[in-house]
């Protein structure tokens, strides 16, 4: 197998196919977010929209280590994680359009995409809400004695929730196969990290739970891949959980509509220059792994995929009104009245 490492110094143990796959995943996430943002601003999508632009390397590098039967839990900024785990962008887009053909039949929306067949145990509208759920998936894996793992994505803001503390402690005590992947994107909504936690490195907290912790450059997809690979191998072989902090940046506002006046244009410019997709693409081109032509072809296929997703979402039917009453336990009286 040709590895990228052999042609890219310090690039890790990935095959060219894997490297190209990660680039495509990142580009697909970016295209999905750009498209969703445009549709939202045009007033075509209801609800909230939290974009993952700028953070793509974390999801792509992490999920490249996973098998279809592994689990993830995601966040309100979850499109990237779900795409990286292999979700169908048509069904995702249909969900954003609140259509019957969406992942959740139009009952979850952007913040709540689930795909249990792919081990996606849900994006989550509650900051920190998915952390105990990933921990439970880890407990289940351990009790069922399989070699699956769970990756729990969350942000720097969520690392201040009680659920973070409770879950990491539980996972460490039971040595659960969970990778806690904190995307430190510098802000909890508008509050900069330095103002919401006194430790600069979130991974330092790992030692408080008795688990390994490390910080990785979240703009470098191969660095993320390598760090998560080590943690996944540890988890699969019974070595327990890991806390990984990936430093990254939320290029968009907290949600579409937030102009993010709380940060400087210099800061934004700094991070724009560290765009993870541009950087990796250039690396692969420089190393001769892909050509400019390959990149163009990839972009074109992604554009087509997105256009098809938008068409699918737009043209799909809305849920029937009756479906508001499905997928939940209901009590009725003898006349059929809901009680």
């Amino acid at each position: 197998m040709t590895t990228v490492e052999s042609r890219l110094p310090l690039a890790g143990h990935v095959s060219t196919e894997q490297a190209i796959g990660m680039l495509r995943t990142m580009a697909l996430i970016r295209a999905f977010e750009d498209t969703a943002s445009r549709l939202y601003k045009e007033g075509r999508l209801p609800g909230f929209l939290h974009l993952y632009i700028g953070e793509e390397a974390v999801a792509a590098g992490a999920c490249a280590n996973l098998r279809p039967d592994d689990y993830i839990t995601s966040t309100h900024r979850g499109h990237g994680h779900v795409i990286a785990k292999g979700a169908d962008v048509k069904r995702m887009m249909a969900e954003l359009f609140a259509k019957k053909t969406g992942y959740c039949r139009g009952k979850g929306g952007s913040m709540h995409i689930f795909d249990f067949k792919l081990g996606v145990l849900g994006a989550n509208g509650i900051v920190g809400g998915g952390i105990p759920i990933a921990t439970g998936a880890g407990l289940s894996i351990k009790l069922r004695k399989t070699d699956q793992v769970a990756i729990c994505f969350f942000g720097d803001g969520a690392s201040n929730q009680g659920s973070f503390h409770e879950s990491l402690n539980i996972a460490a005590v039971f040595r659960l196969p969970v990778i806690y992947l904190c995307e430190n994107n510098c802000y909890a909504l508008s509050t900069p990290q330095r103002c919401h936690q006194a430790v600069p490195r979130i991974s330092d907290r790992a030692s408080a739970y008795g688990m390994p912790g490390m910080t990785v450059d979240g703009q470098d997809v191969l660095a993320v891949y390598e760090a998560v690979k080590e943690a996944v191998e540890r988890a699969r072989s019974g070595g327990g959980p890991t806390l990984i902090e990936a430093t990254t940046y939320r290029i968009s506002g907290h949600h579409v509509g937030d102009s993010a006046p709380y940060r400087s244009s210099e800061e934004l410019e700094y991070w724009r220059r560290r765009d993870p997709i541009e950087a990796f693409q250039q690396r692969l081109i420089s190393a001769g792994i892909i050509s400019e032509g390959d990149v163009k072809a990839m972009r074109k296929s992604i554009e087509e995929e997105m256009a098809a997703a938008v068409r699918y979402g737009e043209e799909s039917p809305s849920p029937n009104i009756d479906e508001a009453y499905e997928d939940v336990f209901l009590g009725r009286n003898m006349h059929g009245v809901l009680i």
């Binding site: 039949r105 849900g122 509208g125 009680i339």
Partner: protein, 343 residues
Amino acid sequence: MAEITYRQAVNLALREEMRRDPTVILFGEDVGRYGGAFKVTEGLFEEFGPERVLDAPLAEAGIAGTALGAALTGMRPVAEIMYIDFCTIALDQIVNQAAKIRYMSGGQVSVPLVIRTQSGSGRSSAAQHAQSLEAWLCHAPGLLVIMPSDPASARGLLKSAIRENNPVVFIEHKLLYNMKGDVPDDGEPIPLGKARILREGNDCTVVATSTEVAKAMGAADTLADEGIEVEIIDPMTLVPLDIDTIFSSVRKTGHLVIAHEACERAGFGGEIATRVGELAFDYLDAPIARVATPPVPSPFAPILESAILPNAAQIADAVRRICLRGNVNGRIHTYQAGTGRDH
């Protein structure tokens, strides 16, 4: 038939379901070798081992959420939250997550999760260990809520709860653990959403939950001596609520008293009263009365605690008040709405 305690009945249901289904696990504080703070899980660690009976760190949100994650991925966990008061710490996982995931995911998954907890006053536990918070949980769509009042119902309902594919909160009562009662030999689960009529009568329906059931039975004996025949209904499950059985009874008796230990304000009695008002208004001969705790926290001093807890005498008074309405000592009685007692 065998006579066992309520505590043993819950234990028996857990044991029977764990023997029947290897995916049933217990997860909670001190549930292992220690046998639980109320000794409900005693002996289960010895029988099923540390992989089925897991002592959790003291972390209620973590316990509920970890159990939920396991429920989504192939297990059938029974989590224990030691006091219902501590469920407040775990409400995100119970209300925002467990109750909603099946719906939010468009029905992709079932959530076979039971949260066992215990509630109630009567042991000078003060205001943070003695609440009755069932109405909070009933208000969250997606949850089932069960309150057994005796050993047989505890065993049969818990077995159904464990086999249920929606999240269930199973609320025991700390004062009932030593209550003795017969349980059937067959060990059949009791279907959820079916009330039981514990005593038949034609004059007044009393709907009572948990510890109030036994108090209502006591009140019924007193009232029978006075010539008032009370029909007592234990709904057993609040969600789903068997309103039909209550409705049929009220249609017969024309009178309804609702007794529960929880705070009267926004308590579950208000829900039952409204339902009956909507469905059976024309059959009511008197306003509906509630017997419940006034809106004060549970006090520590035994003398204060017993003063605020609804008792059999208050249930009897409420029944008399509505049944003899307009005919008390030969004068028109003034009904004081919502007080559940005479002032």
